[in-house]
Symmetry: C2
Subunit: 190 residues, 2 copies
Amino acid sequence: MAPRNQDTKQEILRIGMDLIKRYGYNAFSYADISKVLEMKNAAVHYHFRGKEDLLAGILDQYLDDYVQLGKQLQVSRLTSLQKLDKFIERYSVLVDSNCICIIGSVASDYNTLPESVKARVTELIDLVLGMVEKTLQEGKKKGEFHFTESARTQALLIMTNLAAGVQLARISGKQDYVQIRKALLRQVKG
Amino acid sequence: MAPRNQDTKQEILRIGMDLIKRYGYNAFSYADISKVLEMKNAAVHYHFRGKEDLLAGILDQYLDDYVQLGKQLQVSRLTSLQKLDKFIERYSVLVDSNCICIIGSVASDYNTLPESVKARVTELIDLVLGMVEKTLQEGKKKGEFHFTESARTQALLIMTNLAAGVQLARISGKQDYVQIRKALLRQVKG
DNA sequence: GTCTATATTCCGATAGAC
DNA sequence: GTCTATCGGAATATAGAC
């Protein structure tokens, strides 16, 4: 049986990931996390020395997640469109849970982030953008997608539509996000 | 001569507008403002009772700004493309000053904003989106623009490209923003 | 090894000085 | 009318109890 320690550490990560997507890095505190776990806020410091270490842990987790998703897609027999949709689906989930994406969250707070984690933010963005670009490239080659921009630029367009789309949707409602989602798919389907 | 009071109030607004675009609502304090003006942080409370009143003032200022821009565009003899470009130019300025747009900033922090100002955020978004939509509609009618989505949806696509574009550009560099800007213009020019 | 009691710093805000 | 001295509370973090 896994020691309680690892469970607690994972729980803290999970709660932190939710809070950062819901409120942003500067707007949540260790107390928010400890309340959920019914402990003192100082207990969180045992598992993550300081808030910037927690942020690093959260970003590492997302990096792992997306590496995982990339591998899954690579060995899958999904069409390129299905792969793209699997990626987009993650954003729809965010809208339903009143959150924004991790990338938009840390990007908005970028100037206030500790220097020690900024490199991880860059890494995450490169990873995710690369994934979308690759899927687009592959789909174009197979004749599934038709677009005239470079795959990289098209990936940038999609990423920004989605990232800001979920930000807007929290305010003006899901309908706007749904329209954006449909439109960006039409763009690549040609 | 205007009383010092109004000058100070305007200065506070100006500094607040910069800080919210640079660091976000939750990441700046009255002390940050008072330091610049070489007074005690409590002095700011005289001009704006509390932080949420300051935020309301900032949003009102942006609402005024955009109403003003709307009127300017309406009476101008600019082509629709030039009007759109005038709007987009505001985002280029942000990239150069290491800021994100006010809409993206408050949208990212939306769940943490005081209830009293949320309506103003909605109002600002409606105003700006409406302006872009109107320009697109007009340009399409004149044959300057060619796009198949509804003007409203196309405006959503452009707004999200720009808002998240400046967020990304702060991290991955201006080049990404430049590519996005060029691509979204190609989209509407057809 | 895991968590609590406690220190320190900073934030937003009030009461009152000039 | 304009700003300062100061408060109450929350946030991050350390030292040490169990």
